[in-house]
């Protein structure tokens, strides 16, 4: 009963945040609903960045992997530590400035502004919406399983409750509500995982007890190549594992959009520090807990339950409630971002761009909200009738998104010669290779993970096609140069500048630049 009460309180708080944001009116404009009016500070940005990336996978998939493959699973954790800081440092500043300058509100819209071609937007939006939908379904399954353990309710009821809470606050408050609930959820996740980590670690007798216990079960569990050396010499898989969770962040539309919503480009540096601090405390912990579970609860039927079962076994009711809230937080913080990303891509990149370009801002927000609800209903049906395996679905979607978007996002911000033909062909090839590699299960045969293979093919195509086709237009290059040339202002000058003058500043900039070109003004 106590643990149920903790989870219920947690859910009421996140709902309260959604209702509060709705009342402030922030989510009533396009930029407000999709990017929280670009008013998110560095700490909240870092937390929403991390909690969005670390989904139910961290408590279910990571636990399952560590439980079945032992120390080998830490390759995945090692990559994850770098993911957030790398994305915020490499992509953050340039993406924030470019999208602000060009008025892009979604990560896919950024692609069309950088590579002006309708097919880039079409293809990007369709891949994004489909991947977000499959990804959010995996999160709904995780939510159903997690909530079922705490409440004892049937799986279907748990999926409905979990999705209803997520949809309500996302529907009401848009990105601003999602970012702040993610912040809260990030805090809860950190407290929950630390509680179970140190308890489990003590229960197995510390590091030496953990290693000796695992060795006694199977010596392969403490090796870097997995049980029975099943992955021995497969450096392609190892590099893929590290890449998947490190540079992969830069290709995930629902993650890079966090860079676009930060208050000021200069806030990205403190955001990187927050991200590092968070990762050092959080990322490896679920893997270690599941390694402890190998000793504490051998022979689990469902390895995805490793962390839940350990918490249930070792912790008092209140702490178990907090761990369960942490699990729900991990799932919900990703699911809300996925729902919003999928819905905004549908509304802005498909509906507004191709179906009804004259739609007003109010209508755009309305359509985005409808898309959130619609996507949730379809997700619910799929999660109940044909639930996918959480780990497999997350890895599949992550690989496809990474192969499709990572090279075009990074090259688009750093390589001026990169053009729209290179972008489109790179996205198409990356998506197909990653999908075929996974569906045909080529990774064990070739020793190359689908994500890594997708990135390599996508990058090669990107370079070759860009070099043999005409360079991008002068306007695109100028916007890119402008986005990358602005240095941050001295601290107080930046802080005290007036944001409400931003629309006028944009027009005055264009006016003066025209006058400069005519030779009438000098700057």
């Amino acid at each position: 009963m106590v643990s149920i009460a903790v989870v219920i309180i947690y859910m009421l708080v996140v709902l309260g945040i959604g209702i509060y944001v709705r009342r402030t009116g922030i989510a009533e404009t396009g930029e407000g609903y999709l990017l929280g009016e670009r008013r998110i500070g560095p700490c909240v940005t870092a937390f929403t960045h991390q909690s969005t990336s670390m989904s139910g996978y961290m408590f279910l998939g990571a636990g399952s992997m560590a439980y079945t493959t032992g120390i080998y699973s830490l390759w995945f954790g090692a990559g994850d530590v770098w993911g957030g800081p790398l994305d915020l440092s490499i992509v953050g500043r340039r993406l924030r400035r470019f999208t602000k300058l060009t008025g892009a509100l979604t990560s896919i819209e950024f692609l069309e502004k950088r590579y002006p071609m309708p097919a880039v937007r079409w293809f990007g939006a369709i891949v994004c919406v489909l991947c977000m939908w499959l990804y959010v379904t995996a999160q709904a399954v995780a939510a159903g399983k997690g909530l079922g353990i705490v409440t004892g309710l049937p799986y279907t009821a748990c999926v409905v409750i979990g999705l209803a809470v997520i949809v309500t606050y996302t529907f009401l408050g848009g990105y601003y509500a999602v970012a702040w609930t993610d912040f809260l959820q990030g805090c809860v996740m950190l407290i929950g995982i630390q509680a179970i980590l140190w308890t489990a670690f003590a229960a197995v007798g510390g590091a030496s007890g953990l290693v000796s216990g695992m060795t006694a079960k199977d010596p392969g569990l403490v090796g870097i190549w997995g049980p029975g050396n099943m992955y021995k010499g497969m450096w392609g898989l190892v590099i893929g594992a590290v890449l998947l969770w490190s540079i992969g962040y830069m290709g995930w539309p629902h993650v890079i959009v966090r860079n676009m919503a930060i208050d000021k480009a200069s806030d990205l540096r403190p955001a990187v520090m927050w991200s590092w601090a968070y990762n050092c405390l959080f990322v490896i912990s679920p893997y270690i807990v599941a390694l402890c579970t190998i000793i504490l609860i051998p022979g689990l039927v469902d390895p995805e339950m490793a962390i839940f079962e350990t918490a249930h076994l070792l912790l008092p009711a209140v702490m178990f409630g907090i761990v369960m809230a942490a699990v729900m937080a991990a799932i919900m913080s990703t699911a809300d971002s996925l729902l919003l990303q999928g819905a905004s891509s549908f509304a802005r990149d498909i509906y507004h761009r191709f179906i009804n370009p004259k739609a007003t801002e109010k209508r755009l927000v309305y359509v985005t909200r409808l898309a959130v609800a619609g996507m949730a209903i379809v997700t619910l049906i799929l999660a109940i009738t044909r639930p996918p395996a959480v780990f497999a679905a997350v890895v599949f979607v992550s690989d496809v998104l990474m192969a499709a978007f990572l090279p075009v996002v990074v090259a688009g911000l750093y390589w001026k010669r990169m053009n729209k033909y290179g972008a489109l062909s790179s996205m198409v090839v990356g998506t197909i290779v990653a999908m075929v590699w996974t569906l045909a299960d080529l990774a064990p045969v070739t020793g190359m993970s689908s994500g890594l293979m997708g990135i390599i093919c996508s990058a090669v195509v990107l370079i070759v096609v860009s070099l043999v086709t005409p360079p991008p237009s002068r306007e695109v290059v100028e916007a890119l140069e402008l986005a990358t040339s602005l240095e941050p202002l001295p601290g107080e000058i930046e802080k005290k500048s007036e944001k409400t003058l931003a629309p006028e500043a944009k027009c005055v900039t264009a006016f003066i630049n025209e006058r400069v070109l005519e030779g009438a003004f000098a700057v």
Partner: protein
């Protein structure tokens, strides 16, 4: 690359172009005060500030009478005639007639009828949102004027720990400022020069008709 001219050349350019009479909001800040203000915001930045230009930004100012049941009130709304953004105001600013170089006056790009529609829907939205009421007020326009807000364009060089060069626009009425991204022409969404001139001429004519009452 942008053309570079010396300060004397710039003055010469401005003095030879035509002037135009406009209604400007009365500036509350002088050039000297502006420089001092920016320098005192961040002393450690050791800023050198130069006012390099004046720019006059057009707004269409509307005054409405609001009637909700038996209650009457007044509301003011400004619509930015370049970007089309609207804002409500508690009072009208002081204005004055001034003659300024035409080259410093930004041309209107927003259709005045569209601006009026925006102003009205914005006032209704702001009213119903703030008062938390469902009944929309009846609006009666009492006056509309084209007024210009004076901005100083500042060139700043920081000689502090970090050496940075940047430009700001400083609102000579409110004392607020914002960074400008000058240096590379941001023309991603600009229209061709001829189309732009035609567009501006069209808006000017419509604006004249609206303000003189020829077009209601």
């Amino acid at each position: 690359m942008l053309s570079k001219t010396s300060t004397s050349n710039r003055r010469e350019t401005i003095s030879t172009v035509g002037t135009v009479e406009i209604v400007s909001m009365t500036p509350l800040w002088t050039k000297g005060e502006v420089k001092k203000r920016i320098q005192t915001i961040s002393k450690e930045a050791n800023l050198e500030v130069e006012v390099i230009q004046n720019v006059y930004y057009p707004y269409l100012q509307f005054e409405y009478q609001l009637i909700v049941k038996d209650t009457k009130g007044r509301a003011f709304c400004f619509v930015d005639m370049v970007g089309g953004v609207e804002a409500v105001s508690g009072a009208l600013p002081k204005t004055e007639r001034v003659r300024v170089p035409e080259i410093q006056v930004m041309p209107c790009k927003v259709d005045p009828e569209a601006a009026q529609r925006k102003a009205e829907s914005y006032i209704i939205r702001a009213f119903t949102h703030r008062r938390k009421v469902l009944i929309a007020p009846e609006l009666f326009i009492r006056s509309k004027h084209l007024v210009y807000r004076p901005f100083f364009i500042l060139k700043c060089d920081s000689y502090g720990k970090k050496k940075v060069k940047f430009h700001l626009m400083f609102d000579a009425v409110s004392g607020q400022y914002q960074r400008l991204s000058l240096g590379t022409p941001a023309k991603v969404e600009a229209t061709a020069p001829k189309q732009r001139v035609a567009q501006v001429q069209g808006v000017k004519e419509k604006l004249r008709q609206v303000l003189t009452g020829e077009l209601q």
